[in-house]
Symmetry: C2
Subunit: 208 residues, 2 copies
């Protein structure tokens, strides 16, 4: 999840812009956006506020850039499961579920960055919001594609169900209302993929 492997994450002699993004990543994730001041980011990045404003127009721009990076991490996860399980859409989806499930412990204190940012940025005009919406739309499209490839009946509905479950698992992990969310999540997704789709049964509710 928080992609601690992307960059050394050890603030060292990286160029300041990278150090700032590293620091922002850590602080935004653990403390939230609005609770973290630019000053705090500067200190954590071992630089100054001025240096930050040389690289980013405003704090909002920095937030948007951070979310772009997080989105790229998720995209990378999609890419990885696709290359690891070529032409095996079911295993690709299970790989995605595992990616989320394994990230759950890391977000148990603090939630999913997208969900949190959505709550912290009510303005739809905020640049970060557009990053999120674009990312989510792209992710949904890709998941629907996998469900289609997996031969699931009504792939859009299946993608919706998987999305709901993935998001919900993160929320429930965050508020601690349910235990063993990782295991439960894997079992649920497995159940969705291996559901016996009785051909007589399907024309029940107003399916598309």
């Amino acid at each position: 999840m928080t992609s601690t492997a992307r960059r050394p994450s050890r603030v060292a002699k990286l160029p300041p812009r990278e150090r700032v993004l590293d620091a922002a990543e850590q602080l935004f994730q653990s403390e939230g956006i609005r609770r973290v001041s630019v000053q705090a980011i500067a200190e954590r990045a071992e630089t100054t506020k001025m240096a930050i404003y040389r690289h980013f127009e405003t704090k909002d721009a920095l937030v948007a850039e951070w979310l772009r990076i997080v989105a790229a991490d998720y995209q990378a996860a999609f890419d990885r499961v696709e290359t690891e399980h070529p032409d095996r859409p079911r295993e690709q989806i299970m790989g995605l579920a595992r990616f989320i499930a394994e990230g759950l412990p890391a977000i148990s204190h603090r939630g999913c960055p997208f969900i949190n940012s959505l709550a912290e940025l009510p303005d739809r005009s905020h640049p970060a919001r557009q990053v999120i919406e674009k990312h989510k739309a792209h992710q949904t499209r890709r998941l629907v594609g996998m469900c289609t490839d997996a031969g699931l009946p009504d792939p859009e509905q299946a993608a919706a169900e998987i999305t709901f479950v993935l998001e919900g698992a993160q929320v429930s992990t965050h508020n601690g209302s349910i235990d063993q969310t990782g295991d439960r999540l894997m079992r649920i997704v497995d159940g969705i993929l291996n559901r016996p789709h009785s051909p007589l049964d399907t024309p029940r509710t107003t399916a598309t």
Copy 2:
């Protein structure tokens, strides 16, 4: 969801404390907690900041009180479906799902108050956090009870799945990544309840 039926919601000649709670409810829901100043609440309630601080120790206490009210609304929804469908746990659960599904359009701009508050209040020690956790735990307990009564194999797992789906539907509605979330949600919950439980699969607690 936002329970516009609970109180007149029309700021009139209610006692100031009620007017403050009304105003806080509307503003916190639509704008978020941290973006709403006490001053703004006072203006909306047609009173002053001082009057607010006569009834609430701090802003945090007001936030907690607001969430207590929201939680009570949800509890009322539980009570309602139980009395409307006595001894029919499946219909009770469907009623809950419908309660959430019908609330989705109202939260399409802004998300579920609990999820949002969780994101806005990272401190586990915040009084509002304890309200949320207590409420979520209670809700989970009740849902597990319904699943048990419904004779579902592994009721805890079923309750987890339903919870995930309900939370996820709210998140996905908020970020707009999926369309027709209400219909999809109802179909999913229906599928969970009417799933053919293969008798070999789960020799678990065959609770009544």
